[in-house]
Structure formats: C-alpha cells, structure tokens
C-alpha cells in the first residue's frame, strides 16, 4: 500500500474539518476526491503534505507503511509525495530553473544519487517543457512570476514530471483552465501514470474526468467520505448534484 489514511480526524484553527477519513491507495492507482467547497478537500491535501497550522486530532497517515505525521513537509516531499497547489505561489527573483534544479538535486541527494549539473539539468527541463507545450522563456522567469492562472497550473505539472514523485496529490489542478490547457495538463498526468505511481486527484468540476481515468471516485461531504465508486459515480454527481448523498 502506498498511502493509507486511517480514521483521520483533523482540523485547522480549532475547527474540526476531517471527521474520520479512511482511504487506501495502492501503487498504480488514481483516486479522485470530489466534494463541495468546505467539504474538507483542501484540508485533506494539506494534512497529507504536512502544512503548518493543521492539527491531526486522531488517526494516522502511513506512506509505504510508515507513519508520516511527525515528518516535516520537506521530508515528506523527499520521500516521494508531491502536491500540485490549487493556488501556486509566486516567488519573485528566484529563477524557475534554479528552483527546480535545487528541488531535484535535493531529492537525488536524499536517494544518494549524483546531483545533476546545470547542463544536464537544462537538457532534462527542456524536454519536459516540450511535453507541456511551454515556452522556453520559462527558464529565465522567476517562479510563477507573471504567469497566468493556466500557466501556473501547467508549471505545477511540469514540476511533477521533473521530480517524479511516487504519490501526486493534485489539488484542484483543473480549476480556472481553458479547454486547451486542460487537455495538456490531462495529457501530462496520463503519460506519467505507471504501476509504481499513484494519484490523489482532488477536483470540484466533473469536466476533468472527461480526460483522465480514475480507478476510484470518492465523495467527500462534511469531512467524511460518504460514498466510493467508479467513474460512473462522477457522472451521477454531475446529473444529481450532492444532495442525494447528504441525507
């Protein structure tokens, strides 16, 4: 099992948001979490990646069998957990290339692999840019500086492709994208799938599921997973909304 969430209760600012989440993700699987705003989707993502300010009240999160609740965010990242942010931040003055190289080499160092030098990294990043249909001037720009909403999301997926995480948590990656950008992002995600890699896709809009194929769909209502199923569950949600599950 790659990721196991056991009876997780968690919250932020003294408010309890997740009320007993149980989830098991095996290697190679793609799970989708759908839910309204306020249902706890982002909280789940933030708790998995270890963001400050979120408190785990009860339960556990295990990654490859080990509890990661006490781990810092960077340690969780180095061990193979990646998050595509819903609202990627801008880091002015810090070059995209420099940043991503620092991140990649931190990972390689952690795995006792040789760090890449500037030339090798440049070759690598250029091929990934081509995959994501992004302009080469990306290399000179600062992290997300001057990027449109769509470009920022594409940058997230680009980073995923470069860092090659085992578990990718995609937090509303499809929000705010036009159709073309959505297709590129979906393509990037689909190409990245493999038996050793898993996805936790958090989404609000059914539209994304026209382009990716999750193995499981879970519906999150008021901090609990109330129903799980296959892709057709998403179709039901599209037609009926959430109220039929809220009873």
């Amino acid at each position: 099992m790659m990721l196991e969430i056991k009876n997780l209760y968690a919250g932020v600012d003294d408010k309890q948001i997740l009320k007993g989440i149980n989830l098991a993700i095996m290697p190679g699987e793609m799970h989708t979490i759908m839910g309204r705003n306020g249902s706890g989707k982002s909280t789940l993502a933030n708790v998995i990646t270890g963001r400050e300010g979120y408190a785990v009240i009860k339960g556990d999160i295990l990654f490859n069998g080990e509890s990661i609740l006490d781990w810092s965010p960077e340690d969780r990242a180095l061990t193979g957990i990646f998050m595509s942010f819903q609202y990627p931040v801008v880091i002015p003055g810090v070059n995209n290339t420099y940043f991503l190289k620092a991140a990649l080499n931190a990972k390689r160092k952690h795995k006792d692999e040789k760090e890449l030098d500037a030339a090798d990294f440049l070759k690598l990043i250029k091929s990934k840019l081509a995959e994501m249909d992004m302009d080469a001037n990306y290399l000179q720009r600062a992290v997300n500086e001057g990027f449109s909403g769509g470009e920022k999301k594409r940058n997230e997926i680009l980073q995923m492709l470069t860092l090659e995480p085992a578990l990718s948590v995609l937090d509303e990656t499809d929000s705010g994208l036009d159709i073309d950008a959505l297709k590129i992002v979906a393509e990037g995600v689909n190409k990245y799938r493999s038996p050793k890699r898993s996805f936790l896709v958090i989404t609000h809009y059914q539209r994304l599921l026209n382009y990716i194929d999750p193995d499981f769909v879970h519906v999150l209502i008021d901090g609990q997973i109330v129903k799980s199923g296959g892709k057709d569950l998403a179709v039901d949600l599209e037609e009926k909304g959430y109220s039929w599950l809220e009873a």
């Binding site: 300010g53 960077e74 942010f85 002015p92 003055g93 420099y98 931190a106 952690h110 860092l163």
Partner: protein, 481 residues
C-alpha cells in the same frame, strides 16, 4: 506558536553583534552649537583662516534655515543644543601603526578590520575614522607613487588647499539643505581623494566609521575628485555600538568626475537599528551624497547595502552635466524591528545623450517601514536622455510597510523613460511551497533573499559583496517566514 514562528522570533532577537563600547580617553566639547564652538573646532584642527570663514558662513546660513519635515519618517524632535559636535582621542599625531593606542587597535579587531591583516591580504588602503578624527592612514606612500591623493579631509585642508578650495561645496553647497549647512559648519573629518589625469587607482579605497561617544554627532565630509580619464572605486562601511540615546549622523559626500572619468562609490552600512523592543537608541542618519558628472563621458555609480539605523534619510544623486555621462544607483535596504528608512535617489539629466539606471530593492520585516523616492529629472536641454528605473519591495510579515513615490519630470520630448515597480510578500506560503518541493526553510530563505538582491550585489566590489551577504543574514535570519 508554529515552528516557523519560533525560528523567526529567535532570530529577530539576535543581538547586535557589534554592540560594545570602547573605553578610550577622548576629548569631547560640551554640548551645544554656536560660533565659539565652531572656532574651537577649527582651532583644534589647526585650520587656515579661509576654512574657518567658510564654516562660519555656513553656520550663519544654517541659523536661517528650517529643518525639513516632509520625510515619511517620524522621530522625536532633535535637540541640537544637547549634542556635542566634536570628539577626539587625547593622543598626539601618530606616524605609524605602532604608536596607535593598543585599545584602539583592539577595537578595530572587533570590528573585523585588523589593519595589519588588511595590509597583507587585500591590499586595501584603510583610512579608519575613530569618531570624529582620523587615526590611522595606511598605504599613503604606495598611492603616492601612482599620484593618488588619499588622506583625511583635515590633512587635505592643510596640504592641498587649492584642490579643496576649488571643489569643496561645488556639488553640495552649504545652501543646499539644512543638514548640509550644519555639516559645512561643524564637519569633523572624512576622506579626501584626488585621482590625477589618466590614472586608474591601483586599489580600492576604503573608510570605516564608528560613532563612539554618546551624544556625539558624526559630521563626516568626504570629497572625491577624479580628473580626466581616471578611475576610482571607493568603499564606505560603518558600524556603531549599542547606545540608549539616538545619535545624529549628518554627512556630506561630494563626487566630481571629469571628462572620461569614473567614480564608483560603494557603501555597506550597518548602523545600530534601535532597541528591538522599543526602537530607542538607534542612529539618525541624514546624509547628503551627490556626484556631478562634470564633463563628457564621465560616469558615477552609487551602490549601497543598508541595514540598521533608526532613521535614514539619504538620496545619493547624480547630476549628469557632461554629454554622454552616466549615473547609476543600486541599492538594497533592509528595515527590521522599528527601523524607518526614507531613501531614494535623484538623477538630473542636463547634458545630451545622458543615461541613468536606478535599481532599488527594499526588504521590510518586523515593524520596519520603508519609503523609496526615486526622482528623475530631464532638463530642457537634455536631448536623448535615457532612464531605466526598477524599484522592488519584499514585505516579510504583515506589520511592515513599503511605499514608493517615483517622480518623473520630463522637459524634453526625446527622453526615453522606463519604470517598473514590484511589491511582494514573503510568507508562509512561499516557504511551504519550497518545503513541498523538498527544499528546507533555511535554504528557501537563502534562495529568496539572494535571488531578490542579486542584481545589486553583483555591483559591489567582491569583498563588500561577501560582507553584504553576511550583513543581510544577520539582519534577516529567520525573519523571513
């Protein structure tokens, strides 16, 4: 309290490294300012009559002036009669380092400028100013070979009166502003540099300042003249001890670049920033720094990294008189705790085809406040003037502030102006983003702050760049978060 917050708090409280006081006998005049004090100062320095006359003219003019009130800083009213305007160690003239008071040398050791070591390693001539009097001047002989004059201002008044008479006040007349008038009346000492025609100064020139006695104003006067085709790079760096009362610093720096000459003036300034909890005890830093590109193809470049100082009010400026002349201003200012800075530059284009570049970076943390005023004035006869201004601020936390007031006055239609400004906030989000990519908080801070400042740091002479980076770390360690 979160982990990050704890780290931040402990670093913000890091004690000012250089906070200590040297106990050396020094002669200090009683507080207050009147003609007698000025005469006393002039007499103690054994100045010629014309110098005293100049001081008195300035003083009389000062009496009719009003302290400026428009700066975007607040400070308790300065009682000019409660400050002593002169402080000098009680020893006689020294001819070599051996005769320097060992306690004094120890002071320099603590400041990180052991003169002997510098002599051996960096080859930098150091004119160390101990409070208001120059104590040691090294390398005079080696510079003399090149024909470069580098001495204390007081010496220059005695040994090079023609040069002083020709250039003193030519860039900043005592009528210019309140603090310039005050300085002209009571200036204690400073540096004088003259580079003769065609000479490229063989080493970087440097001066260290230190304010020691409580209630002593520091009134430095510096004059640098680069004759035709010459080149000089001058470094100015300051530290100050921990004090409970605010200390006044009103310096005047004048630069004159003749045809085809270049003057590069770099400052790394580390004033005591005021008590971290109350803001009391910091330095009041009112400086007038100006350079005139007098003739064609001359170039003046100001580079500064500033941290500390309770209140800073300074506008290094360039007057671009000569055709094709170039003025540059690169600055990083850090305000933390209760510091306030009102800073900027003025570029005045008068000749044809003149060019100016302004790159200003401000980092505000804690309750620091920064105001940047960038003035670019294109006079009527300034054909084809070009200006590029970039003014960026980073705010760390939500209690600090940064304000930008660019003012652009263009009176010639052929001018080409470019201006960019960015304000951003470094917060938990940026750090978490870096963490989530496997980059530790410490490395992230380094990445962000250095990335932000690199354009300016690249302009500093190497030794200074190292000190600047260290200075930034002391001022900001953990305050990013």
């Amino acid at each position: 309290m979160s982990n990050e917050q704890q780290v931040i708090d402990s670093r913000l409280k890091a004690d000012y490294e250089y906070g200590f006081v040297t106990n050396i006998e020094s002669e200090t005049l009683p507080p207050g300012l009147d003609e007698n004090i000025i005469r006393t100062i002039s007499a103690k320095k054994e100045e010629p009559e014309w110098m005293l006359e100049w001081r008195l003219k300035a003083y009389r003019h000062w009496l009719n002036m009003e302290e400026p009130k428009w700066a975007n800083v607040t400070y308790p009213k300065i009682d000019y009669q409660a400050i002593s305007y002169f402080s000098q160690p009680k020893k006689k003239e020294l001819s070599s380092l051996d005769e320097v008071d060992p306690e004094l040398l120890a002071t320099y050791d603590k400041l990180g400028i052991p003169l002997e070591e510098q002599k051996m390693l960096a080859g930098v001539a150091v004119d160390a100013v101990f409070d208001s009097v120059s104590v040691a001047t090294t390398f005079k002989k080696e510079l003399k070979k090149a024909g470069v004059i580098f001495c204390s201002f007081s010496e220059a008044v005695k040994n090079h009166p023609d040069l002083i008479k020709k250039y003193l006040g030519s860039v900043v007349p005592y009528t210019d502003n309140y603090f310039a008038a005050m300085n002209s009346a009571v200036f204690s000492d400073g540096s004088f540099v003259y580079i003769p025609k065609g000479v490229r100064c063989p080493m970087e020139l440097s001066t260290y300042f230190r304010i020691n006695e409580a209630k002593t104003g520091q009134f430095e006067r510096t004059l640098i003249v680069a004759d035709e085709g010459s080149h000089v790079s001058y470094l100015e760096g300051c530290t100050a001890p921990m004090r409970d009362e605010n200390q006044l610093h009103a310096a005047v720096v004048e630069l004159v670049a003749h045809r085809d000459a270049t003057i590069k003036y770099s400052t790394v300034q580390n004033w005591y920033p005021g008590h971290p909890e109350t803001g009391a005890g910091g330095i009041y830093n009112f400086v007038t720094k100006r350079g005139t590109c007098l003739e064609e193809n001359s170039r003046i470049s100001w580079t500064q990294v500033e941290t500390g100082s309770a209140i800073t009010w300074k506008y290094p400026s360039c007057i671009l008189k000569g055709d094709n002349s170039v003025g540059e201003f690169y600055s990083v200012a850090v305000t933390n705790n209760f510091q306030q800075a009102d800073t900027g530059t003025k570029m005045i284009h008068m000749g044809k085809n003149t060019k100016s570049t302004i790159i200003s970076k401000g980092i505000s943390a804690g309750k620091g406040q920064q105001t940047y005023r960038g003035g670019v004035k294109i006079m009527k006869g300034a054909e084809n003037a070009r200006n590029f201004s970039q003014c960026d601020s980073i705010l760390i936390g939500d209690k600090c502030g940064a304000h930008t007031f660019p003012y652009i006055d263009v009176r010639n239609p052929s001018a080409q102006m470019e201006h960019e400004a960015t304000t951003s906030n470094i917060g938990d989000d940026q750090l978490f983003y870096c963490n989530q990519r496997g980059i530790s908080t410490e490395n992230a801070v380094s990445l962000i702050v250095n990335g932000f400042c690199k354009e300016v740091f690249n302009e500093l002479p190497m030794e200074f760049a190292v000190e600047a980076t260290k200075l930034m770390e002391v001022s900001l360690e953990g305050s990013v978060g």
